[in-house]
């Protein structure tokens, strides 16, 4: 079993990164650390995709010397997916950071538990 992990070390690393990020996003109370966790989690998935799309010894699928045999090139789709994923991840990070700034301005702390206590006591109930 461990041999398989060693052969597919990139995938194994990707899943470990995903796990680290997921746990950080779930359990850390600090908003910025949560965001860092989210980015690590996404990076894990992108590493998985990128390593899966790459085949050693092959070239990117751009025809320059007239070779059209698909066996000479790598699959371009995973790279496209990674690119799309990065765009999504950047926009999500941006909106989360702006929300964090808004919460920090109001409650002067980044700890979610403290923010929750403060917001319940401020009683903005309708």
């Amino acid at each position: 079993m461990f041999e398989n992990l060693l052969i597919n070390y990139e995938e194994a690393a990707a899943i470990i990164l995903f796990g680290i990020g997921f746990t950080m996003l779930l359990f850390h109370q600090n908003l910025i650390k949560k965001l860092i966790g989210m980015n690590i989690m996404d990076t894990g998935v992108f590493l998985f995709l990128a390593s899966m799309g790459y085949i050693e010894g092959r070239k990117p699928p751009i025809i320059v010397d007239g070779v059209t045999d698909p066996a000479r090139y790598i699959n371009p789709v995973p790279a496209g997916l990674v690119l799309t994923g990065i765009v999504v991840s950047v926009s999500v990070t941006a909106i989360m950071l702006s929300l964090t700034i808004r919460l920090y301005k109001r409650y002067h702390t980044l700890n979610l538990d403290e923010i929750y206590t403060l917001s319940v006591h401020s009683m903005e109930d309708r």
Binding site: F18, G21, F22, L25, L26, L31, K34, M38, M41, D42, V45, F48, L49, M52, V77, P78, L81, T84, G85, V88, S91, V92, I95, M96, L99, T100, R102, L103, R106, Y107, L112, I115, Y116, L118, S119, S122, E124, D125, R126
Partner: protein, 500 residues
């Protein structure tokens, strides 16, 4: 009729365009434009529904005209078109009934941004309904998450921001898992389009090791989408997000957004994995158990809420449990019940969320139960709407809620397993009882006037006939789904057959 092929793509592109347009329009103009545009979309979606029902074929739009295994497709069958029509009706109604709260809850300079967000949300809802490709599904899922977060934070009080942050964190966990699941499935099958993926999976599932890998990937994907749709035990973000947002957002988030995730999941089970393969996986039983647990826990938490919106929100969590129970029962009957419940719940929950602010208006702007005493007497129209919604939630015959519970029971009988049948029946009985307890208690509270505060003068003051039109539409739909449920059920069954 070739032009109808382009309609699914048109709904997405035009909504994206309308979203950008609303950024530059003034608040009031943006509102009229959005209303007009959504009525237009309703007509377009009805045309797609009419076409698919009369011809009995699905509409497929290959993007960039690349054929199947390579391209990226949108596909509209009967089921998708039916749900698109319902989604548009709920959108229009939520907007009509809630726009004056949008005007008061939001800063004047930001009203147009709200409509921009609504249009982008429509685009992603439509794309999730039509998509035939897992990765496009992921992209629009993220757009839907971002826009729903946007629709929460437009009301700038501390609690909505906090609720939005929690909503986002949970949703990001869900999206991360969903993305990982999609990538794993892509790794295993080499396809992102659902139909070729299903063909490959059907072959791969013969090999036990591959079947294990497939189960794992499907499991990851399922956890992701169930976190996003608020299945127990991931439902705790619901009450805060729904209670503090502006009523239009609460109505759309609870009845459309969280259901869109479930629809995507059903679509993946049916079209990407194949129901035959999926039903062999142990995931189904877990969904059944979690669904039943959600039904009971959601209702128990609703009983302990001190605020009417929190109660309705926890009841939403319980209803998500019902839907997952239907998927857990499995088979055509189970999925039909689940989808019928999505429709019944959308009609009922939007009615409740659009009514509670009107009850609060006549009770010192408070949603707390103790202030809401006799509010239905002060505003009789809102009281009646709340009554209809509550009766449907409890499952009184004539209303949609009753038919959907009946469908779940029938699906339990058809499942052929005694354990499942007993579990489903007990869960339905317990949950209906709990529903009856807390909705009846609320009804008694809002209709009784122990302190004699209501006089004729303050009743007349709150009588606004124009705001009742949306409620009449929702109530009518509710009765229609209750009395003529066979129409919807026939369409759903045909749609599911077209899926497979």
């Amino acid at each position: 009729m070739d032009i109808i092929r382009n309609f699914p793509m048109m709904t997405v592109i035009l909504s994206l365009f309308s979203g950008s347009l609303c950024f530059v329009l003034k608040g009031r103009t943006a509102r009229y434009y959005t209303l007009f545009y959504e009525v237009f979309l309703l007509i377009v979606c009805s045309a797609i529904l009419w076409y698919t029902v009369t011809t009995g074929t699905a509409v497929t739009y290959p993007m960039g005209e690349f054929p199947a295994p390579w391209g990226n497709e949108l596909r509209a069958g009967i089921l998708e078109a039916l749900l698109a029509v319902l989604f548009m009706v709920i959108m229009i109604v939520s907007l009509l009934a809630g726009y004056r709260y949008i005007d008061t809850d939001l800063d004047e300079s930001k009203v147009n941004l709200y409509y921009a967000i609504l249009n982008l949300m429509t685009a992603s809802l439509m794309a999730i309904l039509w998509t035939n490709d897992l990765f496009s599904g992921y992209v629009f899922l993220e757009i839907l998450t971002l826009t729903s977060c946007g629709s929460l934070i437009v009301r700038e009080i501390g609690r909505t921001t906090l609720a939005a942050v929690r909503y986002m964190i949970l949703n990001l966990l869900g999206s991360g898992l969903f993305l990982l699941g999609v990538v794993l499935l892509y790794d295993l099958t080499g396809h992102l389009l659902m139909v070729p993926m299903q063909e490959t999976i059907a072959e791969m599932a013969q090999d036990p090791r591959m079947f294990m890998a497939l189960t794992l990937s499907t499991g990851v994907l399922t956890i992701g989408l169930s976190i996003k749709s608020g299945l127990f035990p991931f439902h705790f973000w619901m009450p805060d997000s729904y209670s503090w947002s502006t009523p239009t957002s609460a109505s759309i988030l609870s009845s459309l957004v969280s259901k869109a995730y479930i629809l995507l999941l059903i679509k993946i089970y049916y079209r990407a994995i194949g129901l035959d393969v999926f039903e062999q996986m142990p995931i189904r039983e877990i969904l059944l158990v979690l669904g039943i647990a959600g039904m009971i826990v959601g209702s128990l938490q609703a009983m302990h809420a001190d605020n009417i919106n929190r109660m309705v929100a926890f009841s939403s969590a319980a209803q998500v449990g019902y839907i997952f129970m239907g998927m857990g029962i499995g088979g055509i009957a189970g999925y039909t019940a689940a989808i019928f419940h999505i429709m019944a719940h959308a009609v009922t929950k939007s009615m409740l969320f659009l009514t509670t602010p009107r009850l609060a208006e006549v009770s010192d702007n408070s949603l707390l139960f103790k202030k809401l005493e006799a509010s239905a007497l002060r505003n009789r129209d809102a009281g009646l709407a709340f009554l209809v919604g509550s009766l449907s939630m409890i499952g009184i015959p004539l209303f949609a809620g009753f038919t959907s519970k009946l469908q779940f029971a029938l699906a339990g009988v058809e499942s052929g397993s005694h354990v499942k049948l007993v579990a489903v029946m007990l869960a339905l009985a317990a949950s209906s009882l709990l529903n009856a307890v807390y909705f009846m208690r609320t009804l008694i509270r809002i209709y009784s006037d122990p302190r004699g505060t209501v006089s004729k003068a303050n009743i007349r003051q709150h009588h606004r006939p124009l705001y009742n039109i949306p409620m009449v539409v929702l109530g009518g739909l509710n009765l229609f789904l209750g009395l003529f449920s066979w129409v919807a059920i026939n369409l759903i069954t045909q749609g599911l057959k077209m899926f497979g």
